[in-house]
């Protein structure tokens, strides 16, 4: 049986709520189950805005278009409802939350997910087991996680922590907003491995990036170029090479 699309975006137009400035001018994109898509493009082209609109950030207004996530109208859902339905975003700039321990935070998040799926909460013991093994895999020092969430974490540690949360929450659609920027070679590899390990025929990724480097580890199925709020070209991973050699100017 052919699976349908996980995410379908049709003629999306979105602007900054405060200023009214249009950032996404006309974007249509569909992501099938198990696919990994990459969005590249120059600064200010709307890449981060697009993933933030998908996650539900309130500082953007949707002017027109529709977004379907499985059988749900994503636009009508709150941020947390989207997350529980299976949308996850790895933030470019994760918030620092004083006084909140990563363990407590993720336990609360996991409990919310389990509850909406009609499953019982994990026991502290079971949860800790999963928590510790994922932590080890992504290579985060458990001492670091005794601090408040992201508090005093380096840029690289924050990014690893985002991927760690993705591993814990096992989303259907993971949005990675410039997760690779600011990462050293080892961290990049760890992130790449974590993404590859989670890839299967049900889970999809939408990766926003400036560089080819992460794509050396994670081979995308589709690559889109977003310039000035519009997707100007889509293709396979060969498109990345073209960008690396001739820049974005040839597309505009």
């Amino acid at each position: 049986m052919q699976l349908g699309k996980l995410l379908t975006i049709e003629n999306l137009v979105a602007s900054v709520t405060e200023t009214g400035e249009k950032i996404i001018k006309d974007v249509s994109l569909s992501i099938g189950y198990g696919e990994t898509h990459v969005i590249m493009g120059p600064n200010g082209g709307g890449k981060s805005t697009l993933v933030n609109v998908l996650a539900g950030r309130s500082s953007y207004t949707l002017d027109s278009g529709r977004i379907d996530f499985e059988s749900n109208n994503l636009i009508s859902m709150t941020i947390d409802e989207r997350a529980r339905a299976g949308v996850f975003m790895a933030f470019q700039y994760p918030s620092e939350i004083p006084g909140v321990r990563p363990w407590q935070f993720l336990k609360a998040a996991t409990d919310s997910h389990r509850k909406s799926e009609g499953l019982p909460e994990y026991s502290v013991r079971d949860f800790s087991k999963i928590y510790d093994s994922n932590l080890k895999e992504i290579g985060i020092d458990s001492e670091l996680m005794k601090r408040s969430l992201n508090d005093g974490f380096s840029g690289g540690e924050k990014k690893r922590n985002e991927i760690f949360q993705m591993m814990m929450l096992k989303p259907k659609l993971a949005l990675l907003d410039e997760t690779d920027s600011g990462l050293d070679v080892d961290a990049l590899k760890a992130v790449g491995n974590a993404v590859n390990k989670l890839r299967d025929d049900r889970r999809s990724f939408l990766i926003v990036t400036h560089y080819q480097r992460l794509l050396d580890h994670v081979k995308p199925d589709f690559v889109h170029i977003l310039i000035d709020g519009k997707i100007v070209e889509s293709g396979n991973h060969k498109l990345v090479k073209k960008i690396e050699s001739s820049g974005y100017e040839s597309f505009s």
Binding site: A55, G56, R57, S58, S59, T78, I79, D80, R82, A83, R84, F88, M89, F91, P94, S95, I97, P98, G99, V100, Q104, F105, L106, A108, A109, S112, H113, S116, S148, Q165, L169
Partner: protein, 422 residues
């Protein structure tokens, strides 16, 4: 501008004094002198010129004619908080206590009247409230903590029955022997009645002693809880105070520490959590009187509904107090449009070789942080609760006694879900 006390109200306290004065009272003369001071000062009224109280609406204080409940036997004493199981617990009911309880505690020595320098640390002239307590306390608890009590915890529980319009004036005078280290837990469970409680605690830390002082105030929406803590620190002593106060209708946490001995250090922390229409005043003063002393003030506020809080902190560095290191911080989380904070950090420095820092903030819950948390599937109310708990934990986790900390944590967890954050 001079603030004139409310005449009619003072007459009421004059009558009260006339009824309660006893010739046998060993503190009779002190009380008479204190009452004179009280008559000059009166109960605090808000208004210009009264720096400590000017941001609060104190009219209810003078409207009510509070009475003393003099005879302990008159109280039905139904109230017994479930924390009495604590070891070394002193229960102060309606501001009164039977000091015989002290004689059963090892390492605690009841002071004779000539050993007690009552009012020596808490100055009546500082505020009418202190003078009021000094005029009307029934039997002060005055004792010395000796090395036989070393490393133990003393639990003092203040409660009262719900007969309203009552004035409770608990008074404690504690001396800590040289080199002794002790934890003093102070729990205030307010009755659901219009009880005006003015509590004064004086502590003298002798050389090299160490006190961890934890305060929890569970206010009620009728109670008025005013806590005055006055500390005198001698050489090499260490004093740490961590307080948690939630929402009496009107209240104050008023702490003054005098650093009188070199190499002494104090660390003062507190969280005020105001809800409904409660008003709370945090007033913290550290006097650096001698060189080589160190102090820290770190306070936080969570304000909801239409509540109001005031923080005024002061670091005073005297001319001789060179090499003082002092910091002060007050951070506030405003959870609703109707909540209001007035925060006033201040430094008064007369020495030239010191390091002092201060800062204050007031803000709402950060939208980006909420977005981040919700993007993990946590709904807005729960995310807000987690954020507020995290904000509170930075102070609460510093309550040194684990079982006592639990009382504060449980109280916060009880209040949080009942709140709606706009």
């Amino acid at each position: 501008m001079k603030v004139f006390p409310n005449i009619e109200n003072l007459q009421h306290y004059q009558d009260l004094k006339d009824q309660t004065v006893k010739s046998s009272d060993k503190f009779g003369e002190f009380k008479r002198q204190s009452f004179k001071t009280f008559l000059e000062k009166g109960l605090p009224v808000s208004g210009k010129g009264n720096e400590r109280w000017k941001y609060l609406d104190l009219r209810s204080l003078v409207k009510t004619k509070y009475k003393l409940l003099e005879d302990l036997n008159k109280t039905d004493n139904k109230f017994s908080p479930d924390v009495i199981f604590l070891q070394n617990a002193i229960s102060i009911v309606n501001g009164q206590v039977d000091s015989k309880i002290l004689s059963s505690m090892k390492g605690i020595k009841v002071l004779e009247v000539d050993e007690i320098d009552i009012g020596g640390v808490a100055d009546n002239n500082e505020d009418g409230m202190i003078a009021l307590n000094s005029s009307f306390f029934i039997e002060p608890l005055c004792f010395r903590i000796t090395e036989d009590f070393n490393y133990a915890n003393l639990n003092i529980v203040f409660s009262g029955d719900s007969e309203g319009q009552r004035l409770d004036c608990p008074r404690l005078f504690i001396e800590i022997d040289s080199g002794v280290e002790v934890t003093i837990n102070e729990l205030h469970v307010s009755p659901s009645a219009d009880v005006l409680k003015v509590s004064v605690l004086e502590i003298i830390l002798q050389e090299g002693s160490k006190v961890l002082h934890n305060i929890v105030v569970n206010g009620s929406k009728y109670s008025k809880d005013f806590l005055f803590t006055r500390i005198s620190q001698n050489k090499n002593s260490y004093f740490k105070s961590v307080s948690y106060s939630d929402a009496p209708s009107l209240g104050a946490n008023d702490i003054k520490v005098c650093m009188n001995g070199e190499y002494s250090e104090c660390d003062l922390r507190g969280l005020y959590f105001t809800t409904g229409s409660s008003q709370f005043n945090t007033h913290v003063v550290v006097d650096h009187n001698v060189p080589y002393t160190k102090s820290n003030q770190f306070y936080k506020g969570i304000l909801t509904d239409n509540s109001r809080a005031v923080f005024s902190g002061k670091i005073l560095v005297k001319r001789d107090a060179q090499k003082t290191y002092a910091t002060q911080k007050d951070l506030n989380l405003l959870m609703s449009k109707g909540a209001e904070i007035d925060t006033k950090p201040s430094l008064e420095i007369y020495a030239d070789d010191v390091e002092c820092f201060h800062g204050a903030t007031a803000g709402h819950v950060d939208e980006n942080t909420l977005y981040y948390m919700m993007s993990r599937g946590i709904d807005k109310d729960r995310a807000t609760q987690i954020l507020v708990r995290g904000f509170a934990d930075e102070i609460i986790n510093d309550i040194s006694d684990k079982s006592f900390r639990k009382i504060a944590v449980e109280q916060i967890d009880k209040i949080l879900p009942s709140l709606s954050f706009q």
